[in-house]
């Protein structure tokens, strides 16, 4: 938090509130008395539930962010977008194939992409959304997967797209096709699942269950993270 006591003015759906500077949009809304039921999820920037649009007083730019990540600014007009109205395309992953035209067949609207890059600018994950829509247009499944891997499906790209494309659904189709037909099954995962089923880790788990909370915390904090 910034200097203690400093307050800023925000407008939630037009209503004015004074909130402490340094809060995230989500916390500022709760400070102002809103009880969030929709438009809130993991609070850690991973689930994509708290898509938010805002405009700062004096600027013509409509901006997009996740409420749990973005810190409030003075003069911010905020509206929550807890749900993106987007038609859900149905397909049977067993029946479709990773062909070059698979994206255009399911999402013909991607051919309307103007390359304006508005989607990329709206993405709170800093993904190159337009680049993956273009990769989908030319049927490059692997490129779509590579560029969209960190997508959290918050829907902001779809809300902002002037061509009314729903990029995150296109990317999801790419990742499904990729894992089913291109990547294939992972030997390591199969091996590990077999080990779990054989009870290889049961004893260790039982030991953990019996540990006092302080010891668990200590172990958690000193755990080895391999990248």
């Amino acid at each position: 938090m910034e200097k203690e006591g400093k307050m800023v003015t925000i407008y939630v759906m037009g209503k004015k509130h004074r909130v402490p500077a340094g809060l995230t949009i989500m916390k500022a809304m709760e400070y102002a008395g809103y009880q969030l039921r929709r438009g809130v999820g993991c609070r850690g920037g991973f689930c994509g539930a708290c898509a938010t649009l805002y405009r700062v007083k004096g600027s013509y730019k409509l901006q997009a962010a996740l409420a749990c990540q973005k810190v409030v600014e003075d003069g911010m007009y905020i509206v929550q977008i807890p749900f993106t109205p987007a038609e859900k395309k149905l397909y049977d992953i067993e029946k479709i194939r990773p062909t070059p035209n698979v994206f255009v067949e399911h999402f013909p609207e991607i051919t309307r992409c103007l390359s304006c890059n508005t989607c990329t600018k709206a993405c709170p994950q800093d993904l190159m959304v337009m680049d993956y829509v273009q990769a989908a247009l030319r049927g490059d499944i692997e490129k779509v997967v590579e560029l969209s891997f960190d997508c959290i499906a918050c829907g902001l790209c779809a809300i902002r797209c002037p061509a009314e494309i729903v990029p995150y659904q296109v990317a999801q189709l790419a990742r499904r096709l990729y894992s089913k037909y291109i990547l294939g099954l992972s030997e390591e995962v199969e091996k590990r699942v077999a080990e779990v089923e054989e009870g290889k880790f049961d004893e260790e788990l039982e030991q953990l269950k019996r540990l006092p909370p302080e010891e668990l915390r200590k172990r958690y904090e000193s755990r080895e993270i391999r990248v």
């Binding site: 051919t111 992409c113 103007l114 390359s115 304006c116 273009q134 030319r138």
Partner: protein, 264 residues
């Protein structure tokens, strides 16, 4: 090399005065060309297209960006907060122009199987030649495809309809009318003794080749004639049969080529 991060050019140059949005895509491609030079991937900011539509769209957007400062400002403002604006330095050339630059003699040297006794009618359509100043050659008397075909050893059949409209996008909503336009060009080529037609544009290819079934139903005297990209003829002459991908063409040109001893 393939241009990194290329996007679809939009396929049609927007003519409406207030339609600046549709110039973004080609301008972005041109920006990628400059970026490729900056990244040290290529020496010169030149981009080669195989497609007549990409060629026309990119080249006209480039001209507009360089000469219309108001539109340039609007485009720059839409593209703000990106790496940098396009500097106007990219040059757009068509593969035919690059081949001409290399010299027809060099092309001839590479020919392993001359397309002898193959009578080919070059078809330019609109976007390779028009408007004046944006084409690969003179819009009235083009020679560039003729020169290439001669270098490959083929016999050129000059058809008066070589730059007539194939029907273009009318094929979507007025397919019979578009089919009639293509039929006239195809019939003329046949009547003048051409074995096949060579072209560059994928939309011409669709209207003049893939629509031949419809053309046959509409015009009972129509017999059908193979249509190939000029690059397929190059592959054939260079002895790169597999790369020619003639199995993708409809109607199938292979029986005719086999007859002429140009296909296995």
């Amino acid at each position: 090399m393939e241009l990194p991060r290329w996007n679809c050019c939009g396929t049609v140059h927007a003519l409406a005065k207030d339609d600046v949005m549709h110039h973004l895509a080609p301008v972005r491609v041109l920006l990628r060309v400059e970026e490729a030079v900056e990244a040290g991937l290529v020496d010169e900011p030149r981009v080669v297209t195989l497609c007549a539509m990409c060629y026309n769209t990119l080249k006209r957007a480039n001209h507009l960006y360089r000469n219309d400062s108001d539109k340039r400002r609007v485009i720059e403002s839409i593209m703000e907060k990106e790496n940098r604006p396009y500097g106007g330095k990219a040059e757009v050339i068509h593969l035919l122009e690059l081949l001409s630059e290399l010299g027809w003699g060099k092309i001839s040297e590479r020919v392993e199987r001359p397309l002898e006794e193959l009578r080919v009618a070059p078809y330019y359509g609109c976007l390779l030649l028009r408007p004046r100043g944006f084409g690969v050659d003179d819009p009235e008397e083009p020679r560039i495809m003729e020169n290439l075909l001669e270098a490959l050893g083929a016999e050129v059949v000059d058809i008066p309809f070589k730059s007539r409209c194939c029907g273009a996008y009318h094929t979507v909503f007025m397919k019979e009318e578009a089919a009639e336009l293509s039929y006239k060009i195809l019939r003329q080529a046949s009547e003048m003794g051409a074995d096949l037609i060579a072209l560059s544009c994928p939309l011409c290819m669709f209207n003049m080749a893939d629509r031949q079934g419809l053309i046959g139903r509409l015009f009972r005297d129509f017999k059908g004639i193979p249509v190939l990209y000029f690059t397929q003829l190059m592959a054939l002459a260079f002895g790169l049969e597999e790369e020619a991908h003639l199995e993708e063409n409809n109607p199938d040109p292979r029986p005719l080529l086999r007859e002429r001893g140009l296909w296995r």
